[in-house]
């Protein structure tokens, strides 16, 4: 998968402000095909509807947290191939390790910069391009 500007993103965060910021940053990077979900449960519903190619998710959310969402995605045959980038305020080493072990494609700690998001996205696109 190359960095196709038509790549369909799902941005998952319980704060609308953060969803808006991520959406704006993605737009700056040329990705305008973005949908939003306010927690893991809603995200999963949307993902199961199909059509998404990239998930950007927060960790700490009501109903279903980001790690559980990630684990569920990896355990679902139709979704497990999806790149999942975590953007979270959780900065404990055990969080990062848990996310990596659960199959996160990238991990960004908040507060973050536009440059970091761009770098991580490129890295993930590169990796998925090779695979």
């Amino acid at each position: 998968m190359a960095a196709d500007p038509k790549t369909r993103f799902l941005v998952v965060d319980d704060f609308s402000t953060m969803r808006r910021i991520v959406r704006n940053l993605l737009k700056e990077l040329g990705f305008t095909n973005v949908d939003e979900a306010e927690d893991g449960a809603i995200a999963l519903q949307k993902l199961q509807g199909g059509g998404f190619e990239f998930v950007v998710t927060d960790w700490n959310m009501p109903n279903m947290d980001g790690l559980t969402l990630l684990q569920t995605i990896r355990a679902t045959p139709t979704l497990k191939h999806l790149p999942v980038l975590m953007i979270t305020a959780e900065a404990k080493k055990e969080n990062i390790i848990a996310a990596a072990q659960a199959g996160a494609s990238g991990y960004i700690v908040k507060p973050f910069t536009a440059g970091t998001l761009s770098e991580k996205l490129n890295k993930i696109f590169e990796k998925y391009g090779q695979a």
Binding site: N60, K92, K93, I96, I97
Partner: protein, 278 residues
């Protein structure tokens, strides 16, 4: 108290159902009637009751069974329980009083709703500010983009002039357009952009207000912490004191100083992942 009202209603309901359903065991029917909160209380009450009863042989524990608890026949036993709870509360109150915690708890109980309101106020103001800023950038973005593309187009046209690729009429039109852009369009758009920058600046006015509110809550939290720490140190068994709470949802690290279990920036995240082979 609402609890006693509920009991009276429940009792009446129970009686009416019990008379309808004579041959059947009376306990299952009245279950749906109590408000949901009451069932939680019942469990706690039951546990407390059991512990009291095992100590004090007189009232049989079965008497407080759910569903039967409100039956009139059980009132004497219930009364014994309530008396006992009353005594325990009294002892607790006296003990806390002797330790000097009664004032603290009183203060805490009255301060917490206030702190809750204050925090809600902070959340509200910061959210408003975030929305104002995002709205401003949404408005300013297209303005700046417009200026950029307009000047790029004009620049390209002027390149043609310098390359002698333009007729006198075209040149004339370009000169008029450029003049219009410089004298009217550009200043209008920069002014509009500037207004949005001012809006972004003004959206920061929450900081002063939330700062004051947060300071108050920090003070309250400190008092609370001091009091509760004292209480915990006296009450907790030694083994519990060193137990660490492990949890994966802690929110942002507010103070990373002296901690080795957290990362403080993206480089450390990347280094950690790399060292693990991810």
């Amino acid at each position: 108290m609402s609890a006693s009202n509920d009991s009276a209603d429940l009792e009446a309901l129970f009686d009416s159902i019990a008379t309808d359903y004579q041959p059947v065991a009376p306990q299952p029917a009245p279950q749906p009637a109590p408000v949901p909160a009451a069932t939680g209380d019942n469990d706690e009450l039951q546990a407390l009751f059991d512990s009291v009863a095992s100590e004090n042989v007189a009232p049989p524990p079965a008497a407080a069974g759910e569903g039967q608890a409100d039956h009139p026949d059980n009132w004497p036993q219930q009364e014994a329980v309530f008396n006992r709870i009353g005594q325990m509360a009294r002892i607790l109150h006296d003990t806390l009083g002797q330790l000097g915690y009664d004032k603290l708890i009183e203060k805490t109980v009255s301060a917490l709703p206030d702190a809750k309101d204050r925090l809600a106020y902070v959340a509200n103001l910061t959210e408003q500010a975030a929305c104002r800023v995002l709205n401003a950038t949404d408005i300013a973005g297209p303005l700046v983009d417009g200026m950029e593309s307009r000047s790029r187009d004009l620049g390209a046209a002027w390149d043609k002039v310098f390359a002698n690729q333009m007729s006198p009429e075209e040149f004339r039109a370009l000169a008029v357009e450029t003049r219009q852009f410089l004298k009217q369009d550009l200043p209008g758009q920069t002014k509009a952009t500037h207004a949005q920058l001012t809006e972004i600046m003004m959206a920061q006015d929450f900081q002063d207000l939330t700062g004051q509110v947060i300071k108050k809550i920090v003070m309250l939290a400190q008092e609370l912490e001091n009091g509760l720490m004292g209480l915990l140190i006296e009450v907790l068994p030694e083994a519990k004191k060193t137990e660490e709470v492990t949890n994966l949802m802690n929110g942002p690290v507010v103070n990373a100083e002296g901690r080795t279990d957290v990362v403080v920036n993206q480089e450390q995240v990347d280094d950690l992942l790399e060292s693990l082979g991810f």
